[in-house]
Symmetry: C2
Subunit: 259 residues, 2 copies
């Protein structure tokens, strides 16, 4: 069933109003009719099944028929901090990591980031990535749209680290003298020692841009509590490391069976 | 260090000749000089460090300085059978799965494949995917280039299945009545029961096109020995399922630490 994310304000008692692009998608792209059903989520607490009661090209009115929709959100909330990669690679990262189950994206600047960071274009860029996250969340049957934060400095990223239960800092040089371990060793140990707690487990994956990270950055991340992790003997591209690390976290946490 | 794959015939005693595009890459793109070192592999048994002894625009001659190069090939040989997806998505699949460690690609046609399969363009297409695999293998520091097979029919794919120790058939409907299990359950059980054997472990991941597989195809795959597997509660796009399943296999097999 097709999914749409709307704001809380679009819910009104038993009714929901879908507007603009999404209304166009329902009427023109999907060519739906009255009584057709869709899943509508406010991306927070409510995900419902609703049927179309009024079709307009600018607005579609729906009535809720079922409040019980399966929660597809992962148990562990994983944030992806990505050093700005070249070209449109961030779009691929946001799309793929949303499908796999990321909760949040934190773009950041690091020493080896080579793209010119343009403050003027910042708002437009975040808006674009947020749109990609929304579309990917709809297609992946997520109950929530991952959030896309503004671009952080490396210092700001370090300051966020203590908020997480585990910070995985993807570092190619792991194993070459630098203190660190393979991702499976770190994740299995973390999973074994996890304690029941009321607040959700939050994990941060930090992935570099094309040039990776400097030794100084790795040392600073370690000092801020991050674990330096290796992702195997093969070198992954900037846009691949984060999604592979995320798949590993989802696998370990039981999102793909087991546990 | 930059990697280049050459054919066996380009090795001649202590010397190697690199030609055409790769020679151009060395001289023009990398702007290397005499005595600069690169890694050269025949994609089979030999991966060496060699230094440049003669630079030409059409040909570069190298001398082997070290026969011992770390093997970065995974212990489990994983083949990716991918039902032909739309547009250029197969290119993304070949690139990303080569980085993650796939050994072979088997494109195939299934009932819900919607791209028009053009026999005339087959050779060109395979050539293009093979080129992408080569470039990705070089960048990922692989010792072998994954092979790209010709497009198989679904029947031909079924006939290949008995050659593998494990066949993972990615099937969205797993858990919705259809017999099957989550990928972690199947992989951990497989890993526990694996016996020491002289030939390498071979695993086949089968991923669908945009429309997934029909129930008939799933039943036929099961009859041919495949395990129907789910990849969690979120629905992955055609081009994402294979690489996520591959990351899970690599994680379980100890390529990312542990075991």
């Amino acid at each position: 069933m097709q999914r749409y994310f709307v704001s809380k304000e679009q819910f009104n008692g038993q009714f929901i109003t879908i507007k603009a692009d999404d209304a166009h998608h329902i009427t023109r792209v999907m060519r739906m009719k009255e009584n057709d059903q869709v899943i509508v989520s406010d991306s927070e607490t409510r995900t419902v099944i609703a049927k179309i009661v009024e079709l307009g090209s600018q607005e579609v009115k729906l009535e809720i028929v079922d409040e019980q929709v399966k929660n597809t959100e992962p148990n562990w909330q994983v944030s992806i901090a990505q050093a700005l990669p070249k070209g449109d690679k961030m779009e691929l990262i946001v799309q793929k990591c949303t499908e796999i189950g990321a909760a949040q994206f934190i773009p950041f600047e690091s020493q080896r980031v080579i793209v010119q960071y343009d403050h003027k274009k910042e708002a437009k860029r975040i808006e674009r990535w947020q749109k990609i996250a929304k579309e990917a969340a709809e297609q992946a049957h997520r109950n929530k749209i991952p959030s896309v934060e503004v671009t952080h400095s490396f210092k700001q990223l370090l300051e966020l680290m203590p908020q997480f239960n585990l910070v995985l800092f993807c570092y190619e040089e792991t194993g070459k003298g630098k203190d660190g371990a393979a991702i499976k060793d770190i994740l299995t140990t973390f999973n074994l020692n996890i304690e029941q707690q009321s607040s959700p487990i939050r994990i941060l994956i930090v992935a570099g841009s094309e040039g990776g990270f400097t030794e100084q950055e790795a040392t600073q991340a370690q000092a801020a509590g991050a674990k330096l992790v290796g992702l195997g003997a093969r070198i992954l591209r900037a846009e691949t490391a984060g999604l592979v690390a995320l798949a590993c976290v989802m696998y370990e946490s039981g999102e793909m069976g087991g546990v």
